[in-house]
């Protein structure tokens, strides 16, 4: 091996990274430009809101139910003998709204929505359907990307608000049936440290997660190369990258807003 080879490899990796960032930046700019083409994406928005939002609700609520149950039981286990039991309501409410509601729904839906978008657009790319759209004078960014991203941004906070509510209800039902707590005690704890900003924080986080999941899914799908293997790889990348960004954004919002 020539002594310059490691340097060449590092150089190639750095160039590749900057080139990738450039392609992604251009994709974002093209998406922003296409948002002005309301005539193309307008009629498709409701369809995507149903597909990405309403159809994702069952999985988000399923997760929320079990998260609420576990939170109530673990809080009781931790607090017994040291902290008044009504703090179970505080922990369930705060944890669902500030952290687990948005993050668990985000991670689950990066799998469902992100992979779905990447696979769908990736298949359209490799089978030349995106080229076909272009030849019919459709802007593929306005037709395919913008409605999906807007649907993600609009629907994700709604999904998370539902998930938070269902998780808290599950925690309450668990508390009154399994923890020897009354509804008054649970509600007292729930209201103790509640501030309206908790909901705002949850919504801001979920907006950013909705953007990241759909944007990464669309980007990976649009840049798919090869056949079935390329589509599979794009779907995997969409889930992994969106998952990592969700966790990074989670820490970012905690640092900036709390």
């Amino acid at each position: 091996m020539h002594w310059t080879q490691p340097f060449a490899a590092i150089g190639a990796a750095v160039l590749g990274m900057f080139s990738g960032l450039g392609v992604f930046g251009r994709f974002c700019l093209e998406t922003a430009r296409a948002t002005f083409d309301l005539r193309t994406w307008g009629p498709l928005l409701v369809i995507q809101m149903r597909r990405l939002g309403v159809d994702s609700l069952p999985i988000a609520l399923f997760l929320a139910v079990f998260t609420g149950i576990v939170l109530a039981l673990q809080a009781s286990y931790t607090f017994t003998g040291a902290i008044p039991l009504y703090f179970v309501g505080t922990l369930v409410g705060k944890t669902m709204m500030l952290e687990l509601g948005p993050v668990l729904a985000g991670l689950a839906l990066s799998g469902r929505i992100g992979a779905n978008i990447a696979a769908e657009l990736g298949t359209m790319r490799v089978s030349e359907q995106i080229d076909a759209l272009e030849t019919m004078a459709y802007d593929p960014m306005a037709y395919l990307v913008v409605p999906r991203i807007l649907a993600g941004i609009l629907m994700f906070p709604i999904i998370v608000v539902f998930a938070n509510t269902v998780g808290i209800i599950a925690g309450w039902i668990t508390a009154i049936n399994m923890l020897d707590m009354s509804t008054e005690q649970f509600v007292r704890g729930l209201r103790l440290f509640y501030v309206p900003f908790d909901i705002t924080y949850s919504v801001i986080k979920s907006l950013s997660f909705g953007l990241v999941i759909t944007l990464i899914g669309c980007y990976q799908g649009f840049n798919t190369m090869g056949g079935a293997e390329g589509v599979g790889a794009a779907a995997t990348r969409a889930v992994v990258v969106a998952g990592m960004l969700i966790l990074a954004l989670d820490a970012f919002w905690a640092m900036v807003l709390l």
Binding site: E128, E134, A137
Partner: protein, 255 residues
């Protein structure tokens, strides 16, 4: 009203595909571009539709330089151009009628009834009348190609770009598609560029044939001129004789 490419170069990473391609398709003629797989035939077609931009050179359609057109003008130009994809590229989730209507809806200026009539008329031209409500997955390979052609002609374009319209088809379906290409020229008066490696098709549908080799057009002529050519690369290709090509390559390397 013609298609013109001058000195077009295109590379993908380190791989140089087009190396100074010159090609001219006259108004109303059908020109077949033949060549080996991977020679850059589809890449040439995508340059004409503005789906790819050349690294160097000129691509002109209707006297307009395609890569320099602003988005709106490029879309206007594409509305006069039908593109028949190799694997049809029909939208899987839509019926055949919806596939055909999409371009017409975007173009605007037609009522729903007019669009419905145009769809039926286009399907009739490719002998798929009554297939409006079928999904692409319910069609055979040949029917899908014909549906792709119907979608391309629904616009009533001035130009038709065919990307290997007969590849993977049986001889009878190939003849059906060849006849359709001739019918499009006769009934719609379109200017056509056909990408193919099927010499039988090229001879039967073309006014002229051009051979693409190593990123350049090395020979252009009428079907009779191509049949009689002495160019060893073209001879090797049309006769399916790799030895002729290898000998010509060896001779070229020596000189």
């Amino acid at each position: 009203m013609s298609i013109e490419l001058q000195g077009v170069h295109k590379a993908f990473g380190p791989k140089q595909i087009l190396r100074g391609l010159d090609l001219h398709v006259n108004e109303g003629e059908t020109l077949s571009l033949v060549g080996f797989s991977g020679a850059g035939k589809s890449v040439t077609l995508k340059h004409i539709a503005g789906l790819l931009r050349p690294d160097r050179g000129i691509v002109r359609v209707d006297g307009k330089e395609v890569p320099k057109l602003p988005r709106d003008e490029l879309y206007d130009l594409r509305r006069g151009m039908g593109y028949v994809f190799q694997f049809a590229a029909l939208f899987d989730s839509m019926t055949i009628a919806e596939n055909l209507s999409m371009g017409l809806l975007k173009k605007g200026g037609m009522t729903e009834a007019q669009i419905r009539d145009r769809v039926a008329e286009s399907l009739d031209l490719v002998e798929l009348a009554g297939f409006e409500n079928r999904l692409p997955s319910e069609l055979s390979g040949g029917q899908r190609k014909r549906a792709g052609l119907a979608r391309a002609i629904a616009f009533r374009p001035k130009y038709l770009l065919y990307d290997e319209p007969t590849s993977g088809l049986d001889p009878v379906t190939t003849t059906v598609i060849d006849r359709l290409i001739l019918k499009m020229k006769k009934e719609l008066g379109v200017t056509s560029l056909v990408i193919t490696h099927d010499m039988g098709s090229a001879y039967s549908i073309s006014d002229r044939i051009a051979m693409l080799y190593e990123g350049r057009v090395i020979e252009t002529g009428t079907p009779d001129e191509i049949r009689a050519t002495k160019n060893p690369f073209v001879r090797g290709f049309i006769e399916g004789e790799p030895e002729l090509i290898e000998a010509a390559e060896a001779a070229a390397a020596k000189s």
